[in-house]
Amino acid sequence: MIAWKIGGDQGEGIDSTGDVLATVANRMGYFVYGYKNFSSRIKGGHTNYKVRISTTRVEATTKRTDILVALNQETIDKNFSELDNGLLLADSVFNPVLPDNAKAQLLTLPLTAIAKDLGSVVMRNMVAVGASAALLQLPVEPFVEYVTAKFERKGQAVVESNRQAVEVGYQRVKEEYGHLLTYHLGEPDPGDRLVINGNDAIALGAIAGGCRLMCGYPITPATDIMESLVKWFPLVGGAVVQMEDELGSITAVIGAGFGGARAMTASSGPGISLMQEAIGLASVAEIPAVIVDTQRGGPSTGMPTKQEQSDLLALLQGGHGDTLRVVLTPGSIEESFEDAVEAFNLAEQFQTPVIIATDLSLSLWQQSVDRSRLNGPAQPIRRGATFSQEDLLALGANVFQRYQFSADGISPRSLPGEAYGQYLATGVEHSTNGKVSEDPSNRTKMMDKRLMKLQGVTQVRDGFKYEGPEDPDLILVGIGSTVGVLKEAAKQLGSKVGVAWFRTLSPFPKERVLSVLASARHVLVVEQNALGQLRQLMTAHETTDHRYDSLLKYNGVPFLPEEVVTRAAALLTPVEVH
């Protein structure tokens, strides 16, 4: 496993350089994980992109960097401490200086000058790609092949100069620093994999799950979902509407859900806060809606480009009044795909808003994913209980009761367009025919019906997953992108440590949580927020006890496996008491 990183000023093509490396390494059969560190601005400011390349699956970033490519001095100053006897390749144009305490070998190459000689300074990144291929001891041909295809549209001259940029970068490293190249990645594991992020997975899952309308308002880090669907929806006859705000986005989704289409919106904390009132409407009027929250640093504008998991309690209880919501928390990119499909099924089956809570790291950082885990045509579509036109005609006019009471709390719905199925859907408390009612006994029964029906979700879905030994000394508990970090930490901690993660946060999978955690000597809840919201939730459901500890982080930087290992090791070490 190798960790490669490139850094420079934002707007200098750092992202595309990292993408090239990740894509080509993935095609060669390696597993990649890409981590971009960026700010909420377009040009200027330090940015970097770390790609881990491995012969086995990777789903977290790490502290250590083996190869650092620096396009300016700031990159060295901010990142050299990650190098532990690693290589630092710097553009000689800025006269790089290696700090005294750096544990790295400095390699300089005139990246800018080489690019200029080939025609344009823009190709500096391609020189860096070629140089990186050499540093990683990877063959240059796949990179040349990729670049040739990538620039084909721009004409032969552009293809040729970029191809040369890659080759010259590669050759120069081989010639000047060949004696320093000691890394060996190992043999790749060929497979049919795509490099995608969680947002891609959600957009794919939405299409596979029958979603054909997306109404949204751009916000980091959710916007990719909208942009992907704009690209893909014309192929399946769907539509994306860029709304005027998030109030409009969620309400349009509810309108569409009432109409019988599968629709979604995607946002992050600030937008989700605006949607809270309407989510209550969908709950009370029993209208399917799917909402994605790609969490970021909060509250308010918070840290728009930084990782956090601090919306959890707001997602469960953020609106006024008594409601239960279905909140799904995928713990990987593959689970993001599965949950996107499932969200649309659950929303219609239970006639309710379903929220998918991801987070910035899970939604934006790319990873190698087996194509077989993204099988769109094979996904099930469950529409839930409905009255067909035949059913309604059999009933006759003015008989249909949209909100009739039932054993499981679910009332079959009619869809607009069907004769004799007309009704009023309203956010006002209503009787079984949908008309406004303030009758006390009706109110109690309606509230109970809505709360009770969602308990059925725990029967159709495993809300709490576990991987690890049967008699663990320690179970690490997390959600979202933290799950990948915990899995890597558990590997390092040895055979007596397991990882458990929530797939459903609401309705709370209490029985599963109790049974999974029963055998653990210690439980460490690892979450990225300051209030320990996940543990609070577990406590509220009476699943915690003296075995529990928390590891919290809220500085915007994703957890590193090393941090979890350090804390877990301290828990596992017996403390002498005198």
Partner: protein, 287 residues
Amino acid sequence: MATLQEFRTNEKSWWCPGCGDFGVLAAMQKALVAVGADPATTAIVAGIGCSGKIGNYINSYNIHVTHGRALPAALGLKLANRDLMVLAAGGDGDAYAIGMGHFMHALRRNVNVTYVVMDNHIYGLTKGQTSPTSQEGFKTKTSPKGSLERPIHPLMLAVSAGATFVAQGFSSWQPQLAALIQKGIEHPGFSLINVISPCVTYNKVNTYDWYKQSLQNLDNDPDYVPNDRTKALARLHETDELVTGLIYQEESTPYEDLIPGFKDTPLVHQDLHVDPHTWNQILATLE
């Protein structure tokens, strides 16, 4: 063909006797019959306020949403099932205060929805506070010394914002109002029909008599042709929007016809599964 009776419900009205909203309801039902609408394929989206109760009294598929958000819900519903005849309804508070943002964007988006605003220049359901269309100096419970703000001019705003159909009716002038709503429904795009709908309980200034004396009926002006944005604005400005009739209309292609790849078959009638060929096309963009 559905009859007027088929568009009625047996729900007892919550409106005050004499409320202008009765006239709006009646005109809407007449317009629905006139265009040959079917209760099964008609949908009314309403907001919050006295006006928002209208869905209780029309037999169709009705959704009563949060305050100010009827138009986004109507958009979503129309895109879900473009075979539906979708009408939205709200009051001056719902449309021009809390819902103003959606109003402006619905105008420029031009989805095929008919928006009937019941404008009484006052907040009725909360028992008499200033509305965005209240006249300057208008005294209410929240403006005891008179409203300090200038009123919104929704019609001029609509014409300026790129509306393709703008009309105003008066709840007492039934034939004209029903005809305007009918034209609005038939218009292939977003249509605004602002309706003067007096509040007999809380607005003692803008009464039926006051409107009858103040309103100019464009139907009586053979020289007015509603196809010129500049002339429409001039007339609205001259009359301080105290006109009824069709103010502006242009040829229009509705939003849903412009969406790339969006089909004539409503979304609700399409197969939700994705076929393997299309799926591979999608995945290819990620390779």
